[in-house]
Assembly symmetry: C2
Homo-oligomer: 420 residues x 2
């Protein structure tokens, strides 16, 4: 086990908006909009009847602690369920290496508060999750991007970037990755590459922050459960801070997520969480615990995999039909997102005005890049709309893109490759 | 309206534990302990049946958004209920001046992140709420204490302390106060003094952060509703950031609280909350909203006032009987706390070992003082234990104190005055 004290940090303040949150606000205000923007799960997949039963029992009044303050680290029995859940993913974590967070977003902010000194370099994938960008920038980190390949982050480029930063006299504190069905690309880091990433982190003496909200949502037609094995599973020396969440499987409203990390860090996260919100909603934690205990979560998994796989197929088929000559994407093998690459003369941010007019929205690619790239890319979420709405939405999107192209000077005829 | 940009700040990092949270952990581990430590509401006062009905309807599945992500600023209809609630307290707030926070503790941390530059002076009451001390210290504030009198903060001393700090070249950013049934003293700031505080803040050009979780819980035998009128109610120029919460009236498990502040600050708090936790639990917000809409909250108030007034009376009578010769306290006219002053040779922190042995716990006074004082003081919460347990607990406490005195050299015979 390495010593973690030397990674502890001071935080700073430069506030960054979330592009996706803003998009959610726009979507909420438009009537009849089809939204491919926010990565919301589909409410029709939620096990409503089971939550109703659980809530009725929890609110019987027999156990007053259900509505009371709880321990900052989380509801004890839930922490034990998380241990079992992690064991199923190959991750061994002691109770002192685990804590609940108010959504994974809180986990990211705790990581930022604890690990980032102003000016520290944090390495991230190009592109990467906007919520992580905001949390790290708000701690005054310098974010430096690393290219991705078809099987995820490019390790040669990673080391090159690392050496450049070190040569420039900067401290590289950690690498942030979303190895399973990454937000926004949908990519999966290859298994062999995960092992090599861990070796790289050991060699270069940096931490890895592994964010895994989508691992359970692999699509059986193109990925195996073992493809999602967390990097954390092979982390013998405490290099990896692992974040995961119930937001995509049980429900986002609960804001129940968790962190598995070396005990020395968890103890610091715990202290920081005390002054952040004292504890995560006890009622929500109890519901999540009951959903684990009663097998609700386990029964959800295959159902969710089928549900989102089907929507993914509907979207890729519709896109191939309507835009196959103009748009390309890496095939989503799990998760919520399709990462679409448009002709290079299109600026997806500029095109949003036209899209909004046509009642179709997405997240423009630039929000996910820390180096200003991504102008001709967009993230399309297939998770929330129904299959029918996905087809309608793609038709609207095709109209928007063709109209935008017609109005854009410098049209080239050849389709472009997926740009990761 | 003053400009608020000049109050915006960078945050830092030096983590502070909450003494009360630690005490909660100890209490949870002891069998048959009577705890006067954490300020927990009494679960038997919660309207369980009504929550059960509300949850059953919310979880019917008719409205998918109940379990979805929600706006960072809070559930719209709840914000409107908060407007009405605030109007009842004399506070006018536009929708752009309001937001939901994940407990008031999150409000304090948002305030700290946004307003405190490392080294900034924050003025606080002596003693003050430990959660605020932690949040402000974690932003690297310099906390400076101001004495209290029977009607709350001493304005002459406040100005003296202010001038000293300014003469020392330091920036005083805001004054933090808990005007209603303060945690830990139970004191109420007098109405005239509230007006003068606001004038003082205007004259000295500092902000006031007003924390008001207990205002609804006045005891009808010794306080009137108008005694709890927030400072914010008379704040015409946006000097006051007002925090309040449902934790003491509906239930703490929900983690639903709110901030009323100038729109320019709320917009910044909103951005900071995005990367803190995206949004507060939607289910919990919906339950809180329904509790407002259906009159549950309104029906709770008189019930809670009677409940806690009764427990206060049980505790003060038991204390007078068992310890009237040794212990004094300001009479609690509302809220959850009794602030006990022991003979000066007693160190309440040191005495905790003996108290724990006797299965009685409290919070030692020093945790509430930013200047190291408070060794012979303790906070006793009468909110959680039943009347019977309060009597038993006071009997145990009397044994502990008498035994501690007998074992302490330098015993003086005269009782001491309440030390605020």
């Amino acid at each position: 086990m390495i010593k973690h004290d030397r990674f502890l940090a001071r935080t700073g303040e430069t506030l960054v908006h979330s592009a996706i949150r803003q998009m959610g606000t726009i979507a909420a205000q438009l009537p009849d909009v089809i939204s491919f923007a926010p990565g919301y799960p589909a409410p029709e997949t939620f096990p409503w009847a089971e939550y109703r039963d659980i809530a009725a029992e929890l609110l019987s009044g027999r156990d007053g602690s259900v509505l009371q303050y709880g321990p900052t680290r989380g509801y004890g029995p839930l922490l034990e369920s998380l241990q079992a859940l992690l064991a199923g993913r190959g991750v061994t974590a002691g109770l002192d290496e685990l804590m609940v967070s108010t959504g994974s977003q809180q986990g990211l902010t705790l990581v930022a508060r604890l690990l980032i000194d102003p000016g520290d370099v944090i390495l991230v994938e190009l592109p990467t999750y906007t919520g992580a960008i905001a949390a790290f920038r708000n701690a005054q980190a310098t974010l430096v991007g690393v290219q991705q390949e078809e099987d995820g982050i490019d390790i040669a480029h990673l080391d090159e970037v690392y050496l450049q930063q070190v040569a420039g006299g900067r401290r590289v504190k950690f690498l942030y990755v979303v190895p399973n069905f990454q937000n926004p690309t949908g990519l999966l880091i290859g298994l062999d590459k995960r092992r090599r990433l861990l070796e790289w982190a050991e060699r270069r003496d940096v931490l890895i922050v592994e964010d895994d909200p989508y691992g359970d949502l692999y699509f059986e037609d193109s990925a195996r459960p073992e493809d999602t094995r967390p990097i954390k599973a092979d982390d013998d020396e405490g290099r990896v801070v692992y974040l995961s969440s119930f937001s995509k499987t049980l429900a986002p409203a609960f804001r129940v997520a968790w962190i598995a990390a070396p005990a020395a860090l968890v103890s610091k996260f715990d202290t920081a969480k005390q002054s952040a919100d004292l504890c995560t909603s006890n009622l929500d934690q109890r519901i999540a615990y009951e959903a684990c205990r009663r097998g609700v979560l386990e029964r959800q998994w295959p159902r969710l995999r089928r549900h989102y796989q089907h929507k993914r197929t509907v979207m890729t088929r519709a896109l191939s039909r309507a835009l196959g000559d103009l748009v390309s994407w890496p095939h989503p093998r799990g998760g919520f997102f399709l990462w679409a690459s448009l002709p290079p003369e299109i600026d997806t941010e500029r095109m949003l005005a036209r899209a909004t007019e046509q009642r179709i929205i997405y997240v423009a690619g630039r929000a996910f890049f820390v180096d200003g790239r991504g102008a001709h890319l967009m993230r399309l979420s297939f998770s929330l709309p129904t299959a029918e709405r996905i087809e309608q939405g793609v038709a609207r999107l095709a109209n928007v893109i063709r109209a935008e192209l017609a109005a854009t000077p410098g049209r080239r005829s050849a389709p472009v490759e997926a740009d990761l």
